[in-house]
Amino acid sequence: MNTDSRTVSKAVIERIIEHTSDTRSFFLRPCNDRRLSFIPGQFLSLQLPVDGKTLTRPYSIASNPEDGGPLEICLNLVPGGQGSYYLFSLVAGDMVNFSGPWGTFTLKDPPAAECIFLADGVGIVPIRSMIRRALVHHSQFPVRLLYRADCEQHLLYREELESWARQHARFAFEPRLDHLSNRADGVTDSFREEIEARYIKQDEDHSRYFYICGVGAVVTQLRDLLRGGGYQRRAVLYEKW
């Protein structure tokens, strides 16, 4: 059964994977055989019962639309975040209510241009699915991922991303580690400076597309850097959580 995004459905948590002590993947199996069609990059909207109210919280889908298996959402425990604390209290077999898919930060068909993905922390979640979509297309355009995290453990899906880089000559995976102590309420200087140097100062080719995802000011800072550096508005796509 395929239904409108606004339909609220139930899903059972089939399993939970703990990536780190504060980052988990939840694999959701929609009930009543509801088949959910979505575009890489979209999110589910979970309705969570917290403190007697229904909290609406979005979680990007990490899994691949073609998988046909349970829907994977991946999130970290946000200090003071009611939604993540509630979800981290759940166990396999518990149920959640959700609607979706939602969101327009998507990659349905990759553009005929180089694609640069900039992921900060858990911003990798929607981008994981978008890169897979880009790589299955028969295209010669390069696909590159610059993925910043504050420690090795927070580089999620690292082995998988490295294996894709081995399998696809046109895909480059470039992890970056920057500790939180280096951050000044947003993107680290080194990450920003690298992007500015590579794609603005040292390169006048503005034909490439950027897909940026992360939490907080980092996302709009990178957006402004690239748009201000000569890339067209439509070529700098982003989602800020």
Partner: protein, 119 residues
Amino acid sequence: MAILRILYETGDPEKVIEFDPQQAPFQHDGQAGSILDVMLGHDVPLEHACGGNCACTTCHVIVKSGMQNLSENEESEDDMLDRAPGLTPTSRLGCQAVFEKDGEVTIIVPRYTINQQVG
């Protein structure tokens, strides 16, 4: 005091909320003092699939009057509104349009806030 008057394209009865903008936030979703914040905080529902994070267009509303009492659009809101079905020159996202002055704002909640894409 400020007044938010809500009309529905579906023809549902209008609702009126009178409130003190200085008391914002009224709940947790959307910008403090935004149309979404005011509505949810007064038990008037408005869709907000992304939790009021400016990541979808489900809280799209059309401002019929009183735009001067609301905050200016920021780039993130405009980027998102570009993808809203039924976009009008006075469209806003409920989660981002913040009451900045006392006065009255009248909005229309569109019939559809379709944001679905299937792959």
